[in-house]
């Protein structure tokens, strides 16, 4: 093999001479032209630093290469050691021979220039194209990344495009110089699951079309399956396992690789749903939502009273009995979080009825937010955080309250001495446990979990889900579980409601909806779930845009028609 890039004993450290803390220690690998290497690891494993060392962007982040070599074969056949190369040589390399795409397309695009201008600039810098030639090349580039109406979209600003579109633009820019190596640093982490599938499919196609090598960085080992030729698993700056894709995935040798593969939530298409709850025919709902509508007026300046409204939630209805989990799934912008916020009164509903169990006082619905960092006031200790719901309910702060706090802390698996600590002294998983304990302080009937495990590492995620299930059995809680992650939904839901463009398009028992999806959108959603065992299937690039939710003033949608697809399975007619 004649490798394009050959890395030997690469070590990278951060900090000044006296206090260099090593972040990458002795990494070696070879990469041939046209091959894809996946770098897998959890946050802090050194995977991004390794990749950033290759184009030496790591220098700008305060890192230094402390040892090893990186032999790069230039297009004229000569070899260059990237570890020793000076900034001038690297400038000629970046963009032209080594392209890069980043995690967050919004922050890597300049918000004050049109995307067309930004892609043209890439062509100007990397290929010396000017004027018409540059704009023609830019349009072709947009075509190449499958952006429809490329000529039109050239004039768009980044904020006018969706996350998936922006990431395509980033890819178009990275490809402007016809690089022979593309470094993709978690390019789909910030995107929805169907968009993620589209981007992955696009990268796979482009790789085949252009014959370039790729280094793909991800924390999700399930994602590498569809694209990589070889895999390198990293932990604490060390490579713990590397090899061909099938060898690593089918017969992992190292415990950490096994742990990662085991922790990935497996989506089995409705085979592994919970069967621990059967709805009694006479069960009284803990919460019943009927015809919920939430609209946000737009325009509405001083002289024009509202041009129309964003119909964020349109005629949503469901009920939830004690001990049951209803999962609401959908992509960002589908209205699932707005539905939750309306139920809690955080967003004003335009109309609709939200009824909680009759005769119930106080606040029977509580919520756990997605980001445990943001939902705990950093300046309050745990005692004050847990006391807040009780104070709000007018309960006295006495020894009874403290014993309840201790009991709940113990129940969610936090130590007793946690009471005097502050949120920053806990890990992400512990913080989410704290939020769960806080939500339970007032004995709620219903807990709304808004992407409550999405921000957690996979292994932590599994344990928090187990805790939630235990708590549900113990207290007879009803969960409204909002998520975009189908594998997690399959693990916790009894019933599933699929939301698309502000409306529920399919609702029913988890087994029915996940195993026999009827609505075209549900099918699309389920087909897009990545997985280790689905790696030999391939997705087609699907660019169906989400319909606009902006409606003219006075618009009322046609009443929904429902088709019964089974015992507990309703599908909206298309």
């Amino acid at each position: 093999m004649n490798p394009l890039l050959s890395v030997r004993d690469l070590s990278v450290g951060f900090g000044r001479d006296a206090a260099v803390s090593p972040v990458v220690r002795g990494v070696s690998f070879d990469l041939a032209s046209g091959e894809t290497l996946a770098l897998v690891g959890e946050s802090g494993s050194g995977k991004s630093v390794t990749a950033l060392s290759i184009n030496r962007l790591v220098d700008f982040g305060g890192g230094r290469i402390t040892g090893g070599s990186m032999m790069w074969k230039r297009s004229d056949g000569s070899a260059l050691d990237l570890a020793q190369a000076d900034e001038r040589a690297l400038l000629g390399l970046r963009g032209r021979e080594i392209g890069m795409i980043f995690q967050e397309p919004m922050t890597s695009l300049n918000p004050v220039h049109t995307v067309g201008a930004q892609i043209e600039e890439a062509f100007r810098l990397n290929r010396g194209l000017e004027g018409r030639a540059a704009s023609d090349a830019a349009r072709e580039a947009l075509d190449r990344v499958r952006i429809p109406d490329a000529a039109q979209r050239m004039k768009y600003y980044p904020h006018q495009m969706s996350g998936g579109m922006r990431q395509r633009v980033m890819i178009a820019m990275a490809l402007a110089g016809n690089p022979r190596l593309l470094i993709a640093d978690e390019p789909t982490t910030a995107l929805d699951v169907t968009v993620q599938a589209q981007i992955m499919a696009l990268l796979a196609e482009l790789k085949a079309e252009l014959g370039m090598a790729m280094i793909f960085i991800t924390h999700d080992i399930g994602l590498v399956a569809g694209i990589a030729d070889s895999v390198m698993v990293m932990q604490n700056g060390l490579v713990v396992e590397q090899g061909r894709l099938d060898a690593v995935l089918d017969a992992p040798q190292h415990d950490y690789t096994k742990h990662l593969l085991g922790a990935v939530p497996h989506f089995t298409g409705g085979q592994a749903v919970r069967r621990d709850h059967q709805r009694a025919p006479d069960a009284k709902p803990a919460v019943k939502v009927e015809d919920l509508v939430v609209r946000f007026p737009i325009g509405g300046g001083l002289f024009s009273r509202g041009a129309g409204a964003i119909h964020a939630v349109e005629g949503v209805g469901f009920d939830l009995v004690p001990g049951e989990t209803l999962a609401i799934v959908g992509e960002s912008g589908s209205g699932k979080s707005t539905t939750a916020r309306a139920i809690l009164g955080l967003t004003e509903a335009t109309r609709g009825k939200i009824a909680t169990a009759p005769g119930r006082h106080g606040r029977p619905v509580q919520m756990v937010f997605q980001d445990p960092f943001a939902s705990l006031n950093p300046r309050l200790d745990v005692k004050s955080l847990l006391a807040e719901p009780a104070i709000a309910a007018g309960m006295p702060v006495d020894s009874l309250l403290f014993s309840r706090m201790l009991q709940l802390l113990e129940r969610v698996g936090l130590p007793e001495d946690a009471l005097a600590r502050y949120p920053h002294q806990f890990s992400g998983g512990q913080r989410q446990r704290l939020c769960i304990a806080r939500a339970l302080m007032l004995n709620p009937d219903v807990v709304v979990l808004d992407e409550a495990v999405s921000a957690l590492d996979v292994s932590v995620q599994a344990r928090v889900l187990d805790l939630l299930i235990d708590l549900q059995h113990e207290f007879g809680l009803a969960y409204l579980f909002i998520s975009h992650d189908m594998a997690v939904v399959e693990r916790i839901a009894h019933r599933v409601a699929v939301m698309y463009a502000g409306q529920v398009v399919e609702i029913g028992s988890a087994a029915a909806v996940l195993a026999q999806p009827r609505h075209s959108y549900t099918k699309r959603l389920i087909a897009a779930v990545p997985g280790v065992e689905r790696r030999r299937q391939r997705y087609d690039v699907d660019t169906t845009p989400v319909p606009s939710l902006i409606r003219p003033k006075g618009y009322e949608p046609a009443p929904a028609e429902w088709v019964t697809a089974g015992d507990d399975h309703l599908v909206r007619a298309e």
Binding site: M367, A374, P389, I391
Partner: protein, 279 residues
């Protein structure tokens, strides 16, 4: 405790804190009358004496001891600076907090009136208020407070706008927490750091504004000593008795330097971004 230790470890913060402590000590001594000489007593035979062992910083036209007068003057300046910044931060915080929290037309009314106040140069606005009410210590406090209230309102309103959108405020709403509870526990508590920094820096400006006002004869009235007044009296004697100008001038300069160094250090220490870096 953590903050005190961090300031002691901060290279320039340490100097700033030292200067402020020294000034506080001098002001305290001056206020309780523990001075080398009586600041008001006129030693007629020792008029316009240069610095000596008896009169550390010399004497003025009336034979009064400059060092003693400076100590009392520092006390006077500190009193006005602390009182006016206290008032300004109190009203500014309330206005900024409510404007940010309620938003809408109330925000507009509050912040536009603050903008009107900010449109005037600080000293001009203070002059205007004193011209209407008449000079004196209390008027100086009110005038300087009025000048710095808008700055506090702005400093508080910005973070309030972002804090009120945070998840923990939403979470508090789902518990049914009262507005007062949310404003004090969730917003104000998170504003302590930026406010502390702003207060220290505002003390430096207030010190300078007070000196300016009394230099113009609109602050502390003679014969009571004050830093600005002493410079004003000394300006005609610049040739014969330069020490009369140099010592009050240095005192003002050093005091402002102290507060600025201290404020910058506090900003470094309380800034969450630097905290994260050290953590």
């Amino acid at each position: 405790m953590r903050i005190l230790r961090a300031i002691a470890a901060h290279p320039t913060g340490r100097i700033g804190a030292g200067i402020i402590l020294l000034y506080l000590l001098l002001a305290l001594c001056g206020t309780i009358g523990f001075t080398p000489h009586d600041p008001l007593q006129q030693f007629r035979i020792d008029r316009l004496q240069g610095p000596s062992a008896t009169y550390l910083m010399g004497t003025d036209l009336f034979g009064r001891d400059t060092a003693s007068r400076l100590m009392v003057g520092i006390g006077q300046s500190f009193l006005i600076a602390f009182a006016s910044v206290g008032l300004a931060s109190l009203f500014g915080t309330i206005i900024g907090l409510l404007a940010g929290w309620w938003g809408g037309w109330l925000d507009g009314v509050f912040m536009r009136s603050m903008d009107v106040l900010l449109a005037f140069p600080a000293i001009l606005l203070a002059l205007l208020i004193i011209a209407i009410v008449g000079p004196g210590t209390f008027t100086s406090v009110v005038a300087i407070a009025a000048v710095y209230t808008p700055i506090f309102a702005r400093v508080v309103r910005g973070p309030t706008l972002s804090l009120k959108r945070r998840d923990f405020v939403d979470a508090a709403r789902t518990f049914g927490s009262s507005e007062g509870y949310i404003l004090t526990r969730h917003l104000l508590l998170n504003l302590v750091a930026p406010l502390t920094v702003q207060v220290t820096l505002a003390l430096a400006w207030a010190l300078l504004t007070e000196a300016g006002l009394s230099f113009l004869g609109l602050g502390t009235q003679p014969p009571a000593p004050s830093l600005g007044l002493m410079m004003s009296e000394a300006r005609n004697l610049m040739q014969q008795a330069p020490w009369l100008l140099v010592f009050p001038g240095l005192t003002i300069m050093l005091g402002i330097l102290g507060f600025n160094l201290f404020g910058d250090a506090l900003r470094d220490i309380l800034d969450p971004r630097t905290q994260r870096r050290t953590a």
